[in-house]
């Protein structure tokens, strides 16, 4: 939420000297942002005009908007709020809809976007999460999903017990891509079954009561592809699988894997190319086996 902004680039020593060789042209980039001042308020479009520079990304556009704080028509406006942190697509912060497509803003390169549509770039907040302000949305449901499937290795504790289990290179190569999930929420935004859940604090309701009510609401909704994939990651780990049944119970409960409509949008939009549909297929098979086993164990 801290937004540092670079307005233009002088030639310093170290890496600032390695700025951009090509001089800026006088082209203008037109940007249309869907804004919303706070939860529960009406959203509205606002247009911005930004001088073109080579090698920009959507983050640098938002930085320019923050620095000038003027709309295209010259009005002073509050800077557009947005989330970002690492700017190298590894933290999962800056998810938004760029020209209608859910993606990370840091890797949305302006030159590419202009190739597709030279008229304008459109920025909208994710639609499956409550808007906090402008492009900032509340994604705590994503993390709640990880709690639901107990996405962790249930170790005894952090004291020394020697090394972890031996793992074959094949198993590591299978697990690693799943483990690069940065909880960005792209797969959820693209999923037809994942619908928005917005819970509003009631008058006089304590923070704890509100939190509990919100969690309960989340838990009735679809858990989502990212959490299913994490469940499969930990069910494949030699120690993680010691609570495999608990994860399968979660995945077969309310809002579980049966809600998946197999649209396969999730895997198409994942910025990390995580094989989400493979995880979902595995989870489906495991859940079936587990359900039958449970039936016979009764």
């Amino acid at each position: 939420m801290i937004q540092a902004v670079e307005t233009n680039h002088d030639a310093g020593d170290v890496a600032t000297a390695a700025g951009h060789g090509a001089g800026a042209t006088s082209r203008t980039i037109h940007v249309r942002v869907l804004r919303q001042d706070a939860p529960g308020q009406e959203s509205y479009w606002e247009r911005h005009a930004i001088p073109y520079e080579p090698n920009m990304n959507v983050i640098s556009i938002l930085q320019r908007i923050a620095a000038t704080a003027r709309a295209e028509d010259g009005r002073s406006v509050a800077p557009v709020a947005w989330d970002c942190n690492c700017l190298e697509e590894v933290c999962g912060s800056c998810t938004m809809l760029v020209n209608g497509r859910t993606r990370m803003a840091c890797t949305a390169l302006v030159d590419r976007l202009l190739e597709d549509n030279s008229e304008e770039i459109e920025l909208r907040p994710m639609s499956k999460f409550p808007v906090v302000r402008d492009l900032v949305v509340d994604r705590r449901r994503v993390f709640r999903g990880l709690e639901r499937v107990e996405a962790w290795v249930p170790v005894d504790g952090s004291y020394d017990h020697g090394p972890g289990p031996r793992i074959s290179p094949e198993d590591q190569e299978d697990a690693y891509p799943l483990s690069t999930c940065m909880s960005c929420g792209c797969c959820l935004e693209a999923c037809p079954q994942y619908t928005k859940i917005e819970v509003v604090q009631r008058e006089g309701e304590s923070a704890e009561a509100f939190d509990a009510r919100r969690k309960a609401a989340f838990d009735r909704g679809f858990v989502g592809a990212h959490a299913i994939s994490q469940a499969m990651l930990f069910n494949a780990h030699p120690t993680g699988r010691m609570i495999a049944d608990e994860r399968l119970a979660a995945l077969t409960g309310e809002g579980g894997i049966q809600m998946c409509g197999n649209a396969q949008n999730c895997v198409a939009v994942c910025p990390k190319h995580i094989p989400l549909t493979r995880s979902i297929a595995r989870a489906g098979r495991a859940a079936t086996v587990w359900a039958i086993k449970k039936l016979f164990d009764r």
Binding site: M1, I2, Q3, A4, V5, E6, G12, D13, V14, A15, T16, A17, A18, G19, H20, G21, D37, A38, E53, N55, N57, I59, S60, Q63, S76, A78, P79, A81, N85, C86, L87, E88, V90, C91, G92, S93, C106, T107, V132, R133, V136, R139, F143, E147, V153, V155, S158, D160, P163, G164, R166, I167, S168, D171, Q172, E173, A175, S179, T180, S183
Partner: protein
């Protein structure tokens, strides 16, 4: 007795490791972070984490050598007991992270694979693809989530630490923080407060650091009286990808896996790099440092890349400085398996496949070796006394600092893949110390506590309101930040000169003055990123000033701090007698310099807003300081003279098993 409660600020590797250990010990933890902790800057660490391991051990490696490489690479500017303790913990920490499920790369037999990193001759670095930091962070995030579910940990994500709250005796009793969504303030009473808030790269404008790395939390502690150590030591990473919004790291592991750095011998050779024959390429690191090659310590690699571009004029491009980092001779399968993550970053942002075309890279600000001064209690075996309340405690009792925001482990230059270790180590290790410290104050009454916090809350509310109410100012905080960053990058990175540093100090004071006249473009009280940034910018100036003043006063070259006017060139003579004489002189000068400058820089925030600089002796009781001779001309002669002197002084061989010269 009340239930112990600790406040941890920052949820990267260090903060999460501390939180996990504290929670496991039955302490309640409030964990405050600017971003959801899973999005912390630790995710950006790529290459790996160092520790002695079964394989290197059989090649003659041991914890002592890891310790020795770390202090030698850091030019001896660290107190040695904490570094020894960290190296000793290394194997246990890797084992722990392995148990937590980190998908470390594996050998065909299923053991953890290792690669070599800079500043060592052993393959000590365990790695998970090229996103090791992300993988370690996630493993700790998952464990902390378990404690969150059980109710032991309460996370406060999207919250900003504003000030530590001190009682009349000067002890830290908690902190005041602000909700970045609702902009509300809240007091967090705590038995102790742990800062794990990372580096201060944004003081340099663009760096390899994430946008939360403003240094503001540390600055706030410093302004409240905590001492700052070795501020002038800022690591400039040799290889980064220049960008308009940030400078993206290209991990040292690219060289660890065989990447070669070169420039065309013909300045700005217009040919496709793949068409340039071997003979017309200058592999300058390999030529100048035959022993370490492309894996010399970072400060040296950075200076060489900087020099070949600026002094020798051999930059690949004319308008922007860069050199080639070449992986194209390596197999695509290996590159994908071991470096996939970082090659993807290059490809995504540059639109060029680095498996096919050499990358263009240049140094960028990367890591703060300096940070909050912290204490330690030495043990009889030369390491640390575990659980002593002094360990990792700042000069403010009850306030702790761990991870990149402390100054303790990396001296004048950090070795690659040592930061992940120091973060997890200091996080785990501080927990019993923090608990011991907190036990002393747990009996505070509620009224006493509310009196204390009310004053802090009122002060922070007033600061906030006055920023929002500021009218008529014509300064733009984003412009000021850009000017600060440009200035710091020009004068306080690779090469430092006193006249520039002195002038820059005055300029920073001028910018700070102008900051007082910043006007906000957003005066609302809901998710106001404008006011949050403006506040953190205001807190960057004290850090910038202590960096500049520390650099100005330190008239020597040490690690990342390089002043050409004080450099000690190698041996020029060719005649053996003359060489010998020069080497004697060189050693005399080295000894004199060590006596004068082998000291930690301590900055204290003065009432006038200027840093007061003093120096503290360094505990070098375990490994006597020796010249850092990587690649120095005549290093072998100097080494010989140095060894003779050590023998004469009766201390050779006993405590220093490593050969003195590691260079050519």
């Amino acid at each position: 007795m009340a239930q112990p409660r600790v406040l941890v600020i920052g949820g990267g590797l260090a903060g999460l490791a501390a939180t996990m250990r504290l929670a496991e010990s039955g302490t309640d933890v409030d964990l405050v972070s600017l971003v959801p902790v899973k999005r912390s800057h630790s995710a950006c660490a790529q290459g790996g984490i160092n520790s002695v391991n079964a394989l290197t051990r059989q090649q003659g490696d041991n914890e002592w050598k890891h310790f020795d490489d770390t202090v030698y690479g850091g030019d001896f500017l660290q107190h040695q007991p904490p570094v020894k303790e960290m190296a000793d913990w290394g194997p246990r920490i890797i084992d722990l992270m392995d148990r937590l499920g980190v998908p470390f790369n594996r050998t065909p037999e299923g053991f953890r694979d290792q690669r070599r990193f800079g500043g060592t001759l052993y393959k000590r670095t365990a790695f998970a693809g090229a996103t090791t930091g992300q993988q370690l962070l996630y493993a700790l995030d998952e464990q902390v989530r378990r404690y969150e579910v059980s109710g032991r940990v309460k996370k406060w994500e999207f919250w900003d630490f504003l000030e530590p709250v001190l009682d009349a005796s000067g002890r830290c009793r908690g902190a005041v923080c602000q909700d970045l969504v609702t902009m509300q303030f809240r007091a967090f009473p705590a038995d102790a407060v742990v800062l794990a808030t990372g580096g201060c790269g944004l003081v340099y404008g663009r760096s390899t650091m994430s946008m939360v790395c403003t240094g503001s939390a540390v600055s706030r502690a410093y302004q409240a009286g905590a001492w700052y150590g070795n501020g002038e030591f800022i690591q400039v990473h040799p290889t980064a990808i220049p960008g308009a919004d940030k400078l993206r790291l290209m991990s040292e592991s690219a060289r660890g896996e065989g990447g070669r750095v070169w420039v065309p011998r013909k300045p700005q050779d217009p040919r496709d790099p793949r068409e340039i024959p071997e003979a017309e390429r200058c592999y300058f690191l390999e030529e100048r440092y035959p022993k370490y090659g492309n894996l010399v310590p970072r400060d040296i690699a950075t200076r060489e890349i900087f020099d070949i571009c600026t002094t020798d004029g051999l930059s690949v491009e004319k308008d922007r400085l860069c050199v080639y980092l070449d992986l194209t001779h390596l197999s695509r399968e290996m590159l994908d398996r071991k470096l996939g993550g970082i090659l993807e970053i290059y490809e995504k942002f540059q639109g060029v496949d680095p498996r096919v075309v050499p990358m263009k890279i240049f140094p960028a600000v990367h890591y703060s070796m300096g940070g909050l001064w912290v204490d330690y209690q030495k043990s009889s075996s030369g390491g640390l006394e575990e659980g002593d309340p002094k360990n990792q405690q700042t000069s403010i009792p009850g306030l702790y600092a761990i991870g990149e925001c402390d100054y303790q482990y990396h001296g004048a230059n950090r070795l690659g893949a040592n930061s992940l270790l120091s973060c997890i180590f200091s996080g785990l290790f501080c927990a019993p110390s923090v608990i011991a410290s907190g036990a002393a104050v747990r009996k505070t009454s509620a009224e006493e506590s509310s009196r204390l916090f009310d004053a802090s809350l009122r002060r922070q509310e007033a600061r906030h309101e006055s920023l929002l109410a500021r009218r008529g100012g014509n300064e733009n905080p984003y412009d000021l930040h850009q000017q600060l960053g440009g200035l710091m990058t020009r004068v306080a990175t690779v090469v430092r000169r006193n006249e520039q540093l002195a002038a820059a100090y005055d300029e920073v004071c001028g910018l700070e003055e102008r900051w007082q006249r910043c006007s906000l473009s957003d005066t609302g009280n809901w998710t106001n990123q404008n006011v949050v940034f403006t506040k953190s910018l205001g807190d960057m100036f004290p850090i910038a000033k202590l960096i500049l003043k520390g650099a100005l006063l330190r008239d020597e070259c040490r690690g990342a701090h390089y002043k050409p006017s004080t450099a000690m060139p190698g041996i020029a003579a060719t005649d053996p007698v003359e060489q010998r004489r020069e080497a004697e002189e060189w050693c005399d000068r080295f000894e004199a310099n060590t006596r004068k400058w082998l000291k930690s820089t301590i900055a204290k925030h003065g009432a006038d807003g200027h840093p007061q600089i003093s120096y503290e002796d360094i505990d070098t009781s375990l490994i006597p300081p020796r010249p850092r001779l990587y690649g120095l001309v005549g290093g072998d002669v100097i080494e010989e003279v140095w060894r003779e002197r050590q023998r004469a002084a009766g201390q050779a061989g006993e405590t220093s098993p490593q050969p003195v010269a590691a260079g050519a």
